[in-house]
Symmetry: C2
Subunit: 331 residues, 2 copies
C-alpha cells in the first residue's frame, strides 16, 4: 500500500515514525506500507520524524492526484478548507481516505461516505475519536450484535486533564488552564476544547455510528467546563463523586435520540469517575453486552496507532461502510 501523508504536526510525524519503526510487523499483519509523498505547510520546520527518501509536495491537493498513491492520510485538521478539498479529491480519484479530523467528519461525513461508496474506496476515521482506543471498530463490529441504548464518554483529554488537576491540586480553572497551555496540553486558543466543541464533534460521530443517524452538531446541547469552579469539585467530592465533562447520547424506547455535552456529577463507584488526566473513555450499554468501558490515551502517538490500524484494515481488505450502514440510510 502506497500512502500519501497530508500534515506533519504531532499526529502526522507520529504516524510517519510508526510506519517506519513497525514496518516489518505491519507487513506481517497486513501488507508492506510505504509513505511515498508528504505535504505540510513549512518544509524547513524541525520535526520529530525523518522525511528523507519521501517526495515533498508543496500543494497538498497534488497528493490526491498521484498515480503512485493508494491511500491519502489527512491530519491537517479543520472542518472545511484544505481538509475537505483533499478528501473530495482523493475519494473522487479512487483513493482510500483515512483521517483523524473529527470536525471534518462531523460536518461533512455523510457527503464523504457517499463519495467513498460511489468510488468503491474506504473512508476511515477511527483516529477522530478517543485516540488509540478503537471505539468505532468496537461499536461497528465488536458490539454489532447489540441494540445500544446509550453511550457516554470522556472524549476530550484537555478538559479531563484540567478537571483532574484542579481537584488534585485544589487550584482554580484559570490557573490550571494557563499552566496546561504552557505545557502544551491546551491550545493558545482553548475554546474548541474547554467550550465542549471538540467533544460535540466526537459525540456526533459516535452517535451516527451507534444510532444510524447523520452526524448533527445542531442537535447537540453543548456546555463546556469554563464555569466549573473549585467549589463545584469540592462539593462533588463531598458527595462521593467527581465532575467530568461527558458526551452522552441515548435512545429511548420510542427511538428518540438525545445528545448532550456537559459537566456531569459521576459517583466514584462508576468506572468513568476514575478515568483521570489525559485519558479518554467510552462506556457503551448494549442489550446483550451490558456495560462495556474502554479507556486509553489520545494525542500524538496514540492517535497514530488508530490511523495505522485503519491502514492495516484497508491492507487486509476489511472494508465496511464508514458509519456502519450505507450513507443513504443515515437519517
Amino acid at each position: 500500500m502506497r500512502i500519501a501523508l497530508a500534515g506533519l504536526g504531532h499526529v502526522g510525524a507520529a504516524t510517519l515514525r510508526l510506519l517506519q519503526a513497525n514496518a516489518e510487523l505491519l507487513a506481517e499483519r497486513g501488507q508492506m506500507m510505504k509513505v511515498v509523498a508528504v505535504s505540510a505547510r513549512d518544509k524547513g520546520k524541525k520535526r520529530d520524524c525523518d522525511v528523507s527518501g519521501i517526495d515533498w509536495v508543496d500543494d497538498v491537493l497534488d497528493l490526491a492526484k498521484r498515480d503512485d498513491v493508494d491511500i491519502v492520510v489527512e491530519v491537517v485538521g479543520g472542518a472545511s478548507g484544505i481538509a475537505l478539498e483533499l478528501a473530495r479529491a482523493a475519494l473522487k480519484n479512487g483513493k482510500h481516505f483515512v483521517t483523524a479530523n473529527k470536525a471534518l467528519i462531523a460536518a461533512h461525513g455523510v457527503e464523504l461516505a457517499q463519495m467513498a461508496e460511489t468510488h468503491k474506496v474506504q473512508l476511515s476515521f477511527e483516529a477522530s475519536v478517543c485516540g488509540a482506543v478503537p471505539v468505532l471498530k468496537m461499536l461497528r463490529e465488536g458490539l454489532a450484535a447489540n441494540r445500544i441504548s446509550s453511550i457516554r464518554g470522556i472524549l476530550n483529554g484537555t478538559c479531563n486533564y484540567i478537571l483532574t488537576r484542579m481537584e488534585s491540586e485544589g487550584a482554580d480553572f484559570a490557573t490550571i488552564l494557563a499552566d496546561a497551555q504552557k505545557l502544551g496540553y491546551a491550545e493558545a486558543d482553548p475554546s474548541d476544547d474547554i467550550d465542549g466543541i471538540d467533544t460535540a464533534n466526537k459525540l456526533a460521530i459516535l452517535a451516527a455510528v451507534v444510532f444510524g443517524r447523520a452526524p448533527d452538531l445542531g442537535a447537540i446541547f453543548v456546555e463546556g467546563i469554563r464555569a466549573i469552579t473549585l467549589q463545584d469539585l469540592r462539593a462533588a467530592s463531598a458527595k462521593g463523586g467527581r465532575i467530568k465533562l461527558l458526551g452522552i447520547a441515548t435512545r429511548n424506547e420510542a427511538g428518540e435520540v438525545t445528545q448532550r455535552v456537559q459537566p456531569v456529577f459521576v459517583p466514584l463507584t462508576e468506572a468513568v469517575a476514575n478515568v483521570g488526566g489525559v485519558f479518554n473513555a467510552l462506556e457503551i450499554s448494549g442489550d446483550f453486552s451490558g456495560e462495556t468501558l474502554i479507556q486509553g490515551r489520545g494525542a500524538g502517538d496514540p492517535t497514530a496507532s488508530a490511523i495505522v490500524a485503519d491502514l492495516v484494515d484497508i491492507a487486509r481488505g476489511n472494508r465496511g461502510y464508514a458509519f456502519g450502514v450505507p450513507a443513504e440510510k443515515l437519517v
Copy 2:
C-alpha cells in the same frame, strides 16, 4: 447465513434469543441470519429460548454434515471430545466454525486454524475470552499498529466476584465460595475457575494473538485463589490496594515471552484494581498506543454478544487468520 447451534446451555440459549430478538438489526448490519438446526443433550429440558421451527438434531456431529448450514456455532465446552470432533468435522466440510470454548482453542487452536485455512473458512473465538468485550478484535485489528509489550487481565468473573465479596463483606474464602455456588456464580466443582485453569486457557489464547505464539498451557505458571485469606485482602487494603487474580503475559526486549496466572497486589491508583464483581478486564501496553484498558461482562448474554459479533464479521466478509497470522507462523 444459515447457522447450526451446538449446545443450549446459558450461552447457547442466549445466542438463540439474540439472533431472534435482533434479527432485523443484524440483517441491516451484515446479512439475514437464521438458525436452521440445534442440538443439545436433553431435548425435554426447559430452556430460556424458543426452538420452535428449528430442526432438532440428536447427534450433534450431524450439524457439521448438513448442506443447509454455512456456520457451526459450538457452545458445548470441553477441551476435546464432542467439541473437538465437531470443530474438525465442520471445518473439513467447509463450514465456518465459531466457538466460545477457551479450553478447546488453548489445546487445539493451531490444528483448527490450519484446517480453517486449508478449507478457506473462518475459525472465530472472540467469545472465548472476556465475554462481550471484543479483546481479540482489539488486539488483532484495533491495536494492530503496535508492538505490544505486555497484557494483563482479570479474565475469570467467578474469581473476581469471590475476591470482591470477600473484601466488601469481610468474609472468608470458603463462605463466599459456598454462597457463589448457591447463586450460580460458581460451579459445583469450582476447580477450573478458582485454581486458575480457566484464566490460563484464556491467557494462552491472548498471548498467542499478541505475540504470534502457539497457545502453550505448559508454559504458563498457574496459581489460583484458593489460598487467599481475608487477612491477605486486609493487608492489601492497608497498603492501598487490592488482590486480583491476573493473567499476565509480557515480552522483553530479547523477545522472550513469560506468562503467568496468579493473585497480584494492585494499587488502587491502577484502573484494574477498581474492576469489581463479575466484570472482566484487559490492559494492553503498546509502543504507540500506550495503555488501553477494556472492561465488561462475561457469562450468558454478554458471551452471546461476542458470538454474534463473529457471525456478523463472517456475514460481512471480514475474514482474517484466527490468531492474526497464518497458523504455520505460530511458533
